[in-house]
Amino acid sequence: MLNTVEPNAEVPPRVGPIRVLIAKPGLDGHDRGAKVMARALRDAGMEVIYTGLFQTPEMIARAALDEDVDVIGLSILSGAHRALFPRIFQELRAAGLDDVLVVAGGTIPDEDVAALKEIGVAAVFGPGTPIETAVRFIRENAPNRSTV
C-alpha cells in the first residue's frame, strides 16, 4: 500500500524557521537572561518556545520532543548545572533526541565548561557574551532537519 505514496521529488523542500526551546532548569527565579535570549532569537527569525522557570529535566525533554525543536537553550544561574545537565542529557537520549543542539547560558564558571562540553553541551555563553555571538552560533550550528 505504502509503495503507492512516493514522495513527489518535483517540489523542492521548504525549510522552516529554526525552532528553539528556551527553558530554565532548576530552582533559581531569574528569567531575565532567558527572556532576552528568547527575544533576540525571535528577532533573528526563529520560532522560540518559552517554557519559563523551574523546569525539571523530564519536562525539558518532553517539551523538546513534543515541539520537535532543533535547539534547546538552557539558562541557569543557580550553580546546579553540574547536577542537572547530565540528567537533562540522559532524558534527551531516552527520548531519542540525540540530534538536538543544546546550548547553555548563565553563570557557569569557566572551569566547568569543559565538563559540560564533554556531556554534549555545544556552547556555553557566560556573562558578558554579546547576544549576537549566541544568535550566530545557533544559526550556524542548528541541525538542518529538512534534509530527509
Binding site: M1, R42, E47, Y50, M59, R62, E67
Partner: protein, 328 residues
C-alpha cells in the same frame, strides 16, 4: 528505494504504533510542506474522522491558554485523550515568533495522553496558521479523542477557526467595551459557546447581560449559544463548559448540522489548498523565463496586462496538472 521513501515508511510505521516522536516530526514536515510530510498525510488521512475538534478564540489576554489548560484537566478526568495546537503570531518583520502558550499548559506535561504543540502563524492572517488544518488531521489520525485549537489573540474579524472546528468557544472578558461591540458582525457570529472568563472581575455581569441581549436581538436559530461564566485560573465553571461542549456535539450529530458543517469545511479546505497550489505554481512561472516572451509582448503593448496574466495562469495550471498526474 531512496532514502526519502525509507524515512517516510519508517515515520508512518512509528506513527501508526503511536510513537510521539513520529507525530512531532510529521507535524514539522507537514508544516514545512516537506514532500515526506505531504506524502505521509496522503497515507494517514484515512485514519482521521474520530476526533472532536474544539476551537478556543478570543482577544489577547482573555485567558485562552489558561482556559485550555483547565479544559485539558477536565477532559482527562472524563477519560478523553487531548491533542492541543496553540497558535501564536509570527513577526511580519523577521518571521520569528515567541510561542508562549505552552507555559500556561504545563500541568499535564507528564501525561502520555496529552500532546501540546505550539505553532506560529507564519504570515497567515485570520487567527490560525496555514498548516493548522493538516495538523488537526495528524492529531486526529494519531487517535486523540479531542483536538483543541487555540487561535492567536484575535480582534473582530479573525474567523478562520470556524473553518476547522466543530465547536467554537469565544472568550470574552470584562473591560473591553460597551454593548455596541456585541451587535457588530464578525467573530461573535461564529461562536457556538460564549465564555465569559475572569467572571470574578468587575464588569463581568455587564458582559453577560450585553451578550444575552445580543442573542435576544437575533433571529431564532436551532442552536442558541449558551453563555458560560468561568474563572479559568481557579477551574471555576469548567465542568459546566465541558458539559456545554458535549451538548453542542450532541446537537451537531442529532440535527444534521454537523454533517452540513463538515461538507462546508471540506469544500473550504479543498478551495484553500487548491488556491495555494495554484499560487505556488504561478509564483514559480513568474520567476522563470517561461514568461519572457509574454512580458516582451506586454512591454511593446501587443497585449495588455490581463491577457498576460491569463497566459501565466494557463502555464501554471498546465504545470499543476502535470505534477498532479506525476504524484497520482
Amino acid at each position: 528505494m531512496n532514502d526519502r521513501s525509507t524515512v517516510l515508511q519508517q515515520l508512518i510505521e512509528q506513527f501508526e504504533r503511536g510513537e510521539r516522536r513520529a507525530l512531532a516530526r510529521l507535524l514539522s514536515l507537514v508544516e514545512n510542506e516537506h514532500p515526506v510530510g505531504l506524502s505521509a498525510m496522503a497515507a494517514l488521512y484515512r485514519r482521521t474522522g474520530h476526533a472532536e475538534v474544539v476551537g478556543v478564540t478570543g482577544p489577547p489576554g482573555a485567558g485562552k491558554s489558561t482556559l485550555t489548560n483547565a479544559l485539558i484537566r477536565a477532559w482527562r478526568t472524563r477519560g478523553r485523550s487531548v491533542g492541543v495546537l496553540a497558535v501564536d503570531p509570527s513577526s511580519s518583520l523577521t518571521g520569528g515568533a515567541t510561542l508562549g502558550d505552552r507555559i500556561r499548559m504545563l500541568e499535564n506535561w507528564a501525561d502520555d495522553r496529552v500532546y501540546i504543540r505550539s505553532m506560529a502563524t507564519r504570515g497567515q492572517m485570520g487567527g490560525l496558521s496555514t498548516a493548522v488544518g493538516a495538523s488537526i488531521h495528524l492529531l486526529d489520525a494519531f487517535g486523540f479523542d479531542t483536538v483543541c485549537v487555540e487561535t492567536v489573540g484575535v480582534g473582530q474579524d479573525e474567523v478562520d477557526i470556524a473553518e476547522v472546528a466543530d465547536t467554537v468557544l469565544l472568550l470574552q472578558v470584562p473591560g473591553l467595551g460597551d454593548s455596541i461591540q456585541t451587535i457588530k458582525a464578525g467573530i461573535l457570529e461564529i461562536a457556538d459557546i460564549l465564555v465569559v472568563n475572569k467572571a470574578d472581575a468587575a464588569g463581568a455581569a455587564e458582559v453577560v447581560r450585553d451578550l444575552r441581549n445580543m442573542l435576544r436581538l437575533g433571529e431564532q436559530r436551532a442552536w442558541v449559544p449558551p453563555i458560560v461564566e468561568t474563572v479559568a485560573t481557579e477551574f471555576t465553571g469548567i465542568d459546566n463548559l465541558v458539559s456545554q461542549i458535549e451538548r453542542h456535539q450532541a446537537f451537531l450529530s442529532a440535527s444534521g448540522e454537523g454533517a452540513a458543517r463538515l461538507a462546508r469545511r471540506l469544500r473550504a479546505e479543498v478551495a484553500r489548498l487548491a488556491r495555494r497550489q495554484l499560487t505556488a505554481h504561478i509564483d514559480a512561472v513568474i520567476a522563470s523565463n517561461a514568461v519572457d516572451e509574454t512580458l516582451i509582448q506586454l512591454e511593446t503593448r501587443e497585449i495588455d496586462p490581463l491577457s498576460a496574466a491569463r497566459i501565466v495562469a494557463r502555464i501554471a495550471a498546465d504545470r499543476l496538472s502535470e505534477s498532479a498526474s506525476v504524484a497520482g
